[in-house]
Amino acid sequence: MTQYLDFEKPLAEIEGKAEELRALARSNEEMDVADEAAALDQKAHTILEDLYKDLTAWRKCQVARHPDRPHCRDYIETLFEEYTPLAGDRNFADDHAVMGGLSRFRGTPVVVIGHEKGSDTTSRIERNFGMARPEGYRKAIRLMRLADQFGLPVVTLVDTPGAYPGKGAEERGQSEAIARSTQACLQLGVPLISVIIGEGGSGGAVAFATANRVAMLEHSVYSVISPEGCASILWKDAEKMREAAQALRLTAQDLYQLGVADQVISEPLGGAHRDQTGTIEAVGQAISDMLEELSGKSAEDLVKQRREKFLSMGKRGLAA
């Protein structure tokens, strides 16, 4: 059962009708609905194309947060072989909002790290909806250092609403953990590539995405604050999230223009949630290309390139 977003309502109606028609035909063998159903399918296809042709920033946020969108775990299971999770920050706990471990990507050993949001109620709670605590960032730091020590490239998959705003998380140094994780990214003498697969939520995302190459999926978003948070501060009304999303310029397309994203990975028509396999494959290709590009570079060059990339950021702007 597809979960439709509010703006997909016209599509839901047409697809519903087509489905009804086919169900009717199944129970009544004499009926021939093939032509009619095909016409409806065609219409649905046109609507889908129209809807996704020019998604507003807020709609992009909705698509980026779609529950059926492939998550970190789906990418790891499909694209990475011999995934061997490595747990814990050696200090306090293991954070299930962050997956990470050794793995092979198309034969090459790598360290893969990512935020996992979970896919049903149980796993969402277990994963804390992809909101990491300090332990998550400290685990990531540990794994990045491991990669550095043994010369393995690091691949991070970013999908988080943001770092967890909780009492314990604050007491155990959420800010320090994020700052150290960003610092660890900058110190790596191995290739670090990052793909924003859904939501790039503020500091929680930067801590993994201070990378040599940052790719974003076509309908992913990356922002300093959620549109709802921004609306409640600047508009004094959380319901103004559409305006806030627009103003924040958080889409992959805008971030590519600003030089924050190095490339945009196309999603299948109607978003990643309509074709998980196709999306994961496209991300796999992008990871492969980025790793290829960076292979053979010296540790000094990688550190320097990462540094200069971030230092020079902000030279390009966007028109209204």
Partner: protein, 312 residues
């Protein structure tokens, strides 16, 4: 330059200007409500003389009190492009900027300067909470990078006084990118083996805490400063319970291992002199107010030993 311009005119001016100031002569302490005489308050660095509450202090006032003889040289900060996103909420970002500039008389939310403290040459940067909540955008990022580069160039320690609500939303993702950018600045200092001291002042929150403010060699905070990543209101909404007294305040962070020290503002200068000189392997400084440094190039040499006391 004669007797009339130097003495008579200021006297006449002061007689006239005095008439306009009465309402500014007294300031009420936000904490205990005591009425404080402005001169007494500013002499005590905006710390309430009755209850010890630390009120905000502008970077300029802070530097005047910090540097020997109040002498410092501003470090110029590369100007970023204005309004990179053409951002508009209920107001246009350039209009908010202009209003902040008018209200504070400053160009942006951070001041960088070089000078000496206890005859110890340093670079200092201070964030201005009164300028759009001290928020970190491109300019603040550039300021921190400029400060670090200056420190590396002159081989001096860097002291940053942080104060910010967080990132500047009006610069969107580019404000978030100041987290890695300022972290690069910290890296420059580490590689040059120069001390980097962070003085966290009220409030230091959000992306600022999660980057340069938490990466110091030494973290000192002013008493009762709010220091956090997520603010108390956001947390209360998330966990739906009341937070304990003093949660996310400096003393609480000290207890939880996130700070080295909590030091009242009037003692901060001596402590910074003492720490930087020890980290640099220099002999103890002469304590107390010093006249401005002479025009000779600054030298990190042993001061005269008479009266030098390292301890408070």
């Amino acid at each position: 330059m004669n007797w009339i311009t130097n003495y008579v005119r200021p006297r006449i001016n002061s007689i006239f200007s005095r008439r306009e100031t009465p309402e500014n002569l007294w300031k009420k302490c936000d904490e205990c409500g005591t009425m404080l005489f402005h001169r007494e308050l500013s002499e005590n660095l905006n710390v309430c003389t009755s209850c010890g509450h630390h009120m905000n202090i502008t970077p300029r006032d802070r530097f005047n009190a910090l540097f020997d003889g109040g002498v410092f040289v501003e470090v110029s900060v590369p100007e970023p492009q204005a309004d990179p996103l053409s951002f508009r909420d209920q107001k246009k970002y350039p209009d908010r900027m202009k209003a902040a500039q008018r209200a504070t008389g400053e160009k942006e939310a951070m001041l960088v300067a070089t000078g000496e403290i206890g005859r110890t040459p340093i670079v200092a940067a201070a964030q201005d909470f009164s300028f759009m909540g001290g928020s970190m955008g491109m300019y603040v990022g550039n300021a921190i990078i400029a400060a670090a580069e200056e420190a590396v160039k002159l081989r001096r320690p860097l002291i940053i006084f942080s104060a910010a609500g967080g990132a500047r939303m009006q610069e969107g993702i580019l404000s978030l990118m100041q987290m890695p950018r300022t972290t690069v600045a910290v890296q420059m200092l580490k590689e040059a083996k120069l001390p980097y001291i962070v003085v966290l002042t009220h409030p230091t929150t959000g992306g600022v805490t999660a980057s340069y403010a938490m990466l110091g060699d030494v973290h000192i905070s002013e008493p009762n400063a709010l220091i956090c990543f997520a603010g108390p209101r956001v947390i209360e909404q998330t966990i739906r319970e009341k937070l304990p007294e003093g949660f996310q305040r400096a003393e609480y962070l000290l207890d939880h291992g996130m700070l080295d020290r909590v030091t009242p503002r009037p003692q901060m200068r001596d402590e910074l002199i003492s720490i930087t000189r020890m980290l640099l392997g220099l002999p103890p400084a002469i304590k107390g107010e010093l006249p401005p440094p002479s025009d000779e190039p600054a030298q990190i040499e042993a001061p005269d030993s008479d009266g030098a006391t390292p301890e408070k």
